[in-house]
């Protein structure tokens, strides 16, 4: 057996396994996404108390097991439990969405400290500031970039032409082309999502940002209305799965 690894980690989610165990997936600082089995976690009130709930930031000690893709979770010590994230439905919905898209876009055991930092800061932001669709849009764009799926927004993905300022004809965002297409290039991509010049500019600017700034936090409603479905479809395309927490953002929409 290899020696145990100790690393800060954020709990993405957990499932009951058998009578008394849990399968838990973490995003760790040192090893990327790690999925492991926590023996006795469903019943034991001592070993994993408080630490295996989604969004918890903990110090994880785990050990790889021979012939198994599941690590053995030895111990979890709380660093920050984000207690205020569970004080409102909206915060729970947002935090769930942040961990779900991180889970969807990150590969198992692909070390990526910047994604870990980004998720940690995202959860802190939601805990302290409450729900914000503008923040969510920033979070998605930066996560896509850190995970290596940055969509092309500056120019047409096919012919590389730039958007003509003042043009009234919308371009289209095409998830499977990995970015926007100009009007002529998108003729045969009817499923692509229309984006106005205003939305394109705002999203491209947000994509260049390394951190959220106050003026980013009030994206115009047209940008949100056009940009949100485009990014959601793109993330689902890249993660190759439906995002179950996404409808909960609309249901509790409160911006």
């Amino acid at each position: 057996m290899r020696s145990p690894c100790v690393t800060p980690a954020i709990v993405l989610r957990s499932w009951p396994f058998g009578e008394s165990d849990k399968i838990v997936s973490f995003f760790t600082e040192d090893h990327g996404k790690v999925t492991g089995i926590a023996k006795g976690a469903k019943r034991s009130r001592k070993r994993f108390v408080n630490t295996l709930e989604p969004f918890s930031l903990i110090n994880l000690r785990f050990q790889d097991r021979p012939h198994s893709t599941l690590a053995f979770v030895q111990a979890c010590d709380p660093i920050r439990l984000f207690k205020d994230l569970t004080t409102s439905l909206e915060k729970i919905a947002y935090a769930s969405y942040l961990v779900e898209i991180t889970d969807g876009l990150a590969g198992e055991r692909e070390e990526n400290r910047r994604i870990f930092e980004h998720l940690r800061e995202g959860l802190i932001f939601v805990e302290e500031n409450g729900p914000s669709l503008s923040f969510l849009t920033f979070f998605e764009l930066r996560l896509l970039k850190l995970a290596g799926y940055q969509p092309i927004l500056e120019h047409c993905r096919r012919c590389r032409r730039h958007f003509q300022e003042g043009s009234q004809i919308p371009w289209r965002f095409s998830p499977r082309d990995g970015g926007v297409l100009c009007a002529p290039c998108s003729t045969f991509r009817r499923e692509a999502i229309p984006l106005s010049g205003e939305a394109l500019d705002a999203l491209a600017e947000l994509q260049r940002a390394n951190r959220i700034l106050p003026h980013h936090l009030s994206l115009p409603s047209t940008v949100l209305r056009e940009g949100r479905p485009a990014l959601l479809r793109f993330i689902q395309f890249q993660a190759n799965r439906e995002l179950k927490s996404a409808p909960f953002l609309d249901a509790f929409y409160s911006e």
Partner: protein
């Protein structure tokens, strides 16, 4: 498994579908049944068969109930039928097993409502998939004055409690949450009776 005779292998296959039972345990159980007295094994088989015909969900609280024997019977559980229970309180739990756990604490004398799940954004489970509509109509159509939310102290349990408070409070009914004597991530079903009765005593308004 092909090394076993067909009837034996069939039983093992069925037993393996049960939670927490692997092939080894299943084989051990099957060997045990072979050694048992014939009447005892038939008794077990009959109890399993009768479980699904004689048990039902209470049509009022959705807890476990003996199935109505005649069509004019109400199909209500013992708690709902008991005239001594306090009809101004409803304790909301996730699963039938939680209702039994709260009953065991002997602290609570009101009625129950079993949701059969929790709101869970990560699993895509929203309020419409639970027995929340039925709860609201019970609250609206009877003398209920307090709804005690006894969902588990997990993220999903909290989300459910917050949602219930949001939709029930406007009806002019007090909504309380059982106290956090229970650790976050805990499970009502495995909580001892003393802790649970303290938690009900120390409930707070939400």
């Amino acid at each position: 498994m092909s090394t076993y005779p067909a009837p034996f292998a069939r039983l093992i296959r069925e037993l393996c579908k049960l939670p927490g039972i692997g092939e080894k345990t299943a084989a051990r159980l099957a060997f045990h049944m072979l050694k048992e007295k014939r009447e005892d094994v038939l008794e077990l088989a009959e109890s399993i068969g009768r479980l699904r015909t004689e048990m039902d969900l209470c049509r009022k609280c959705f807890g476990l109930s003996e199935a109505a024997q005649r069509s004019d019977e109400g199909g209500e559980c013992k708690v709902c039928q008991d005239p001594r229970r306090d009809r101004e309180k409803i304790c909301v739990v996730e699963e039938p097993a939680d209702m039994i756990a709260v009953e065991r604490s002997q602290e609570y004398k009101g009625l129950y409502h079993v949701l059969h799940g929790t709101i869970s954004p990560l699993d895509g489970v929203g309020p419409d998939s639970l027995r929340i509509k039925e709860l609201l109509s019970r609250v609206q159509s009877s003398a209920i004055r307090e709804v005690i939310v006894a969902t588990n102290p997990t993220v999903e349990g909290e989300a459910t409690a917050l949602y219930l408070s949001k939709v029930i409070k406007p009806l002019g009914v007090k909504v309380t949450r059982i106290a956090r004597g229970l650790p976050m991530g805990g499970d009502l079903e495995y909580t001892d009776a003393v802790t649970l009765s303290k938690a009900i005593e120390g409930r707070r308004e939400i």
